[in-house]
Symmetry: C2
């Protein structure tokens, strides 16, 4: 494939940016990939492992002369980085981001975007619980969704070009409105993460169950929660602070349901529990049929998944 | 290995009993394995696939002449099955179970156990979200824990023999007190399952986010919940009804923590969120070091796990 962009600047060199670099290289999508990160240690590791073609010291320097600039920093830092690089963006360049929240990123970044630069927010729905410059891999986006969230008046040709980049990195692409994006993600990702963090915190706090017991007997349920709750703390702090409204709305619905089930347990309403648990099985079947997970019985079965 | 028991009777032929049959056969631990299930369809499938050496119609018939009888039915059904088989248990036989709750199983089963029969409750901490006679596999217990929960006055030799069976099926064995078992499991398994069921139910209910969106964009967090929430409804109904006290206690702690985090989000206390999320990362590291999960970044990566 011939390059879609001549020079791509990655601002931030964590899991997503690192995987983008490897996926772009795999398919030859970028003439040159320039990268930078705020931390000197991250830049040094990226240079050492050859994650990008060229590591530079500042975001401004990275943006200089790039026809695609990718903001891959925690969503709370997007606005400040946009302000820093704005004077250095080339006319006709595309500025995009990979943040997990879209409304607040648009509000923070859009005011800084110069005339003639195409700002096209995006969000790849892919990740692992690992972070940092060594965590990326070229296959991260294969068969995953990347949502493009265009702001009004965006140039269709620039949007089309960014879509082709994501498709070239293996993703399926769809457009979505920012508010709807933030609500859907609150349901499918943000609130589940908060719940997992909470449950792991409870286990850690409980004095009558020692940490070693929680760790030793963590089969079946809790172990999946600990995986989720090992995700990057900075990223997730920012997600909850910037997608506050949708998170609180879904949390409200969640606790309402939880209290109803808690009441069914307390009062011994077995039929209610049985019906509820039967209904949730159907959603799982839908996900497997949609090709977004495997039916292999690997829940609680790390050893089997490895073999 | 020479057989540890001459004739093992499996009452119930679901995931756990089926896996026990295959694991016992793998290591030659039983002279003969007899099985039964309440449902005629389950018995027919078990006979068709040769899951056990002999399928019989009733629990009483299965128990007849067995030197090990395993109750592998939902915990709510243990008492009735124990009553049914009691007159048929051979003197010197061992009666065990594989229920996820121990205090209530002991209370339901112990009164029926005849003099001279060794009742030794147990609980293998292993499972998948699948159920039924086709869901078992010989490796299910490999490197997992099986907890033995002896009642006062149990014959040490009979306990030792049952331990050897579990070790022969691949499990690590430890003894635990019934009440402590029920509390530890409420933390590491029961409440996490209830939470996952609840979150999947909320997603299904939410009218502004369609089921198809929930299914399509289920990467990163929610997908693991749907796997957990696909577990057997009858089994889990009984778990919550019979481990009511510990479940409600841990749920109380969980909602307390969740409300504290919710408040931190509402009031924008980023430091509090960051500290909490950093603390939960450590538990994950402990689980990986304890060999109970892999560090491979397969969270949200069904396709990678398959390759």
């Amino acid at each position: 494939m011939s390059p879609i962009y001549d020079r791509v600047a990655l601002i931030g060199l964590g899991l997503i940016a690192g995987s983008m670099a490897l996926a772009m290289r795999r398919a030859g999508l970028a003439g040159e990939i320039v990268g930078t990160a705020r931390s000197a240690e991250t830049r040094a590791v990226a240079a050492e492992i050859g994650l990008v073609d060229r590591v530079v010291e500042t975001a401004a320097e990275a943006a200089e002369g790039a026809d695609l600039v990718v903001l891959a920093v925690p969503v709370g830092a997007m606005g400040a980085v946009a302000a820093e690089i704005a004077p250095h963006l080339a006319p006709g360049a595309t500025l995009t981001d990979v943040g997990s929240v879209k409304r607040s990123v648009i509000e923070a970044v859009a005011p800084h975007v110069p005339e003639g630069v195409h700002f096209i927010p995006a969000h790849p729905l892919a990740g692992t619980e690992h972070s940092g410059p060594r965590s990326g891999f070229a296959e991260l986006f294969d068969n995953r969704w990347s949502l493009i969230v265009p702001v009004p008046g965006t140039d269709p040709a620039a949007t089309e070009r960014l879509k082709r980049l994501w498709e070239g990195m293996g993703a399926n692409v769809e457009e979505m409105d920012p508010d709807h994006h933030d609500l859907v993600l609150a349901v499918t990702s943000h609130v589940p993460h908060l719940i997992a963090y909470t449950m792991v915190g409870v286990a850690d706090d409980l004095r009558r169950v020692t940490d070693s017991e929680v760790i030793k007997y963590s089969a079946a349920g809790f172990r999946d929660f600990t995986r989720i709750a090992a995700s990057d703390p900075t990223m997730w702090r920012d997600v909850f602070l910037t997608n506050k409204e949708a998170t609180l709305e879904i949390l409200g619905r969640f606790t309402e349901e939880l209290f109803a089930l808690q009441r069914a347990i307390r009062t011994g309403q077995g039929d209610e529990l049985f019906d509820y648990f039967t209904r949730t099985r159907a959603i799982r079947r839908g996900i497997i049929e949609a090709g977004q997970d495997t039916d292999a019985p690997d829940f609680g079965r790390g050893t089997k998944a490895r073999s």
